[in-house]
Symmetry: C2
Subunit: 331 residues, 2 copies
DNA sequence: TTGAAAGCGCTAACAT
DNA sequence: ATGTTAGCGCTTTCAA
C-alpha cells in the first residue's frame, strides 16, 4: 500500500480511501488506480480485519452436512452470504458439546462477524457461552425449549407433528406407529399424539419406535420392528424423511403396499423425497426461509452495530400430500 | 496481552511464549497462566495471522453442496481439518468462472493457508489464477483434462466408465442406453463405450441421452426418453446416482421391472443409494479417500512451507454390485 | 529464559 | 479532499 501511495504520489490514506470507495477527486482516483494496476496491488484483508475488528465472515454451525436437510440449509446460507459480501465459515457440531465449545472459542478468537446456529443437543448445552459471544448469534430450526436469551427462527415442531397427526386421523387411520429419532424429535411425536388425543384416541408408548441409527437403515429396522410388533398397523409417521425412506422399504419388503396397506408420512421435505417413488407425503419445513430470516436478522445487527433484536420467529410448516398416504383399507 | 503481561510481571513476549507453548520456566508459566485465567484473556487470532501470514484456514471449492457427492466430501474435509486444527472456509463455485474468480481473490486477500478445489467447469477456466496463488492449491475429483501445473487427486473416470461397461457387456447386455450429464461426464460415457467397442459392439450417439436437469427429475425424463426411443433397451447407465434414481423410476413407471426388464447402473455411490429399493449397482468413487489424500498433500505443504509436490494421484474406482442389475431377460 | 524494540498492513481521528 | 499520526494485537529479532 505504501508502494502504491509512493508511485501515485499520495499517502497511504488516500490509497485506502480509493480501495474502500470513499470520496476521492477523480484525477487522484485515476492516478491511484493506475498505480494499483501497475503494481498488482491487492489489499490485505487480515490487516483490515485487525484494524476494524470485522472479518466479513459468518460462522454456521450445523450438526452435520451429510443430512440433506442441513446441506440445503448450508447451500441457502452460502448463497445469501455471498450475495452480501460475506464468507462462510462452516463447522459441524455433531451433537457434541465439546466440539461446539472448541469451535465457538475459535470463532470468537477469529472475530467472525456473526454466528448462525442450528439446533442440536451439543449446542443446547453451550447456550450460556453463545449468549456471551461478542458477536451476534441467532439460532434456527430449534426444537425443544428455545432459550429466551437469543433470537430464534424456527417452526413450531409440535404443531408440525400435529399437522401430520390430524391428517392421518382424518384419513381414518386408527392404528398408527411412529418411528423416531429420540429424544431429539420428541416434540414432533407429541404433536402427532395430540392430534389423536383430541379425538379420544391415543398412541401408546409401545407404538413409538426409537431408531438406533439415524439413516435409512435405521428407518428400515424401526419400520420392520413396528410391523412385526403389530401387523395391522395402517400408517407410519417417521420423524424425518430419511427414516421415512427406510420405512417405505420395510413396508414394501414385508409384502405390503404403500400407500395401499400402509401410509407413510415423513418430516422435513428434503429435495429428493418428492422425486422418488412413491413420492413422500411429508411435513414441509421452510428451511430456506428460516435460513433467510436468520441471516437477515444477523446481518442487520452487524450493519447497525447493535445486538440483534431478540425475536422469536415461528414460520409455518405445511403438510405436503404426495403418493405415500391414503385412507386405510376398509376391513 | 499487555494487561496479562503487566499482571504477571513479565513482558508481552513471555505471554506470547506461554500462549504458543514455547519453553518457559515453570514458575513463570504458572504466573502467566494465572494472569490469563484472572483476566479471561483470549488471544486474537487475527492479529496473529497478520503477523505470521497464516490463518489456520483452508478453503474448499465445490460446485454445490446440494449434491450428496459433495456433501460427503465437505463432511470428510471438515473432519480432517478440524482434527488438524484448521478451519473450513466453504465456497460454492456453481460452474461459474466469475464466482470462482471472485472467491479466489477473496481467499487470497484473506491469506488462507491452502485451497482444495473440486472439478467444475467454472474452475477449469480459472486454472491460471489458481496456479499463481500464493498458497498451496490441490485439485480433486477432476474429470477431463487435468492441468499438469497443479497437484491432482482423482480417479480415472474413463476407466470407471469402462468398469460399468464391461460389467454390463459381460452380463450379456447388447442394447444399452446412457443418460448423462453432458458435457461434464463425457469421460464416463467414453469408458462405457470403450468396453463395448472392445467386443466389436458399439453404443450409438442416439442411445446417449443428455439430461436437461441435473436431478432425479432429469434422470426420470431422460430415462423415459430412452425407453420411448427404443422399448427394447435392456440396461441403462446413468453417469451419476441421482440420475440413476430418476431412471429407476422411469423404468418402473413404464411398467417394466428393475432389474428384470432393465438393469440400471449408477455412478458415485452416494450413501443413500445403497439403502433404497432397489439398492443401486454403481461405480464406487472413493470420495473420502480422495479428500483425505488431497488434504494431506496440502497440509504437508503448509507445514513444510514448500509448494505441494506436484503429483497426479489416481485412486481406484470399483464396481459395487447390488440389486438393480442382472443379465438381460432371455428373448 | 526473558526483555526491549520494531513492524506486519491497514484505517480512525484529526489536522490541514 | 488529502496528509499526518497513531495504533489494532501479535510475533520476530536481537540483546541481556
Amino acid at each position: 500500500m505504501a508502494d502504491v501511495a509512493a508511485r501515485a504520489g499520495v499517502t497511504k490514506q488516500t490509497v485506502s480511501n480509493v480501495v474502500s470507495g470513499k470520496k476521492v477527486r477523480p484525477e487522484t482516483l485515476a492516478k491511484v488506480n493506475k498505480a494499483i494496476a501497475d503494481l498488482g496491488y491487492k489489499p490485505n484483508l487480515v490487516a483490515r480485519s485487525l484494524r476494524t475488528g470485522s472479518t466479513s465472515t459468518v460462522g454456521l454451525f450445523v450438526p452435520s452436512v451429510a443430512n440433506p436437510f442441513y446441506s440445503e440449509v448450508v447451500e441457502e446460507v452460502e448463497n445469501l452470504l455471498v450475495g452480501r459480501g460475506y464468507n462462510l465459515l462452516l463447522a459441524t457440531t455433531r451433537d457434541d458439546p465439546d466440539y461446539t465449545r472448541a469451535h465457538l472459542e475459535n470463532l470468537a478468537a477469529r472475530s467472525v462477524d456473526a454466528l448462525l446456529v442450528a439446533c442440536d443437543n451439543g449446542v443446547a448445552q453451550q447456550i450460556p457461552m453463545l449468549v456471551e459471544a461478542a458477536f451476534p448469534v441467532a439460532l434456527f430450526a430449534w426444537e425443544g425449549d428455545p432459550p429466551t436469551t437469543l433470537p430464534v427462527v424456527s417452526i413450531d415442531y409440535e404443531h408440525a407433528g400435529f399437522l401430520a397427526g390430524r391428517y392421518l386421523r382424518d384419513l381414518g387411520h386408527r392404528n398408527v406407529a411412529v418411528i423416531a429419532d429420540l429424544p431429539a424429535h420428541t416434540p414432533r411425536v407429541a404433536g402427532l399424539r395430540r392430534a389423536f388425543a383430541d379425538d379420544g384416541l391415543a398412541i401408546d408408548d409401545h407404538k413409538v419406535f426409537a431408531c438406533i441409527r439415524d439413516d435409512a437403515v435405521g428407518g428400515f429396522d424401526a419400520g420392520r420392528a413396528a410391523l412385526e410388533a403389530d401387523p395391522d398397523v395402517t400408517a407410519i409417521f417417521a420423524t424425518h424423511d430419511i427414516l421415512a425412506v427406510g420405512a417405505v422399504e420395510a413396508v414394501v419388503r414385508s409384502g405390503r403396499q404403500v400407500p395401499g396397506d400402509v401410509s407413510i408420512v415423513g418430516f422435513d421435505d428434503i429435495a429428493q423425497v418428492g422425486q422418488i417413488q412413491p413420492a413422500l407425503t411429508t411435513i414441509t419445513v421452510p428451511k430456506r426461509e428460516m435460513a433467510q430470516q436468520a441471516v437477515e436478522l444477523l446481518l442487520r445487527a452487524v450493519d447497525s452495530g447493535r445486538p440483534p433484536t431478540n425475536v422469536f420467529t415461528l414460520l409455518r410448516p405445511t403438510l405436503t400430500i404426495r403418493d405415500s398416504s391414503a385412507p386405510p383399507r376398509a376391513t
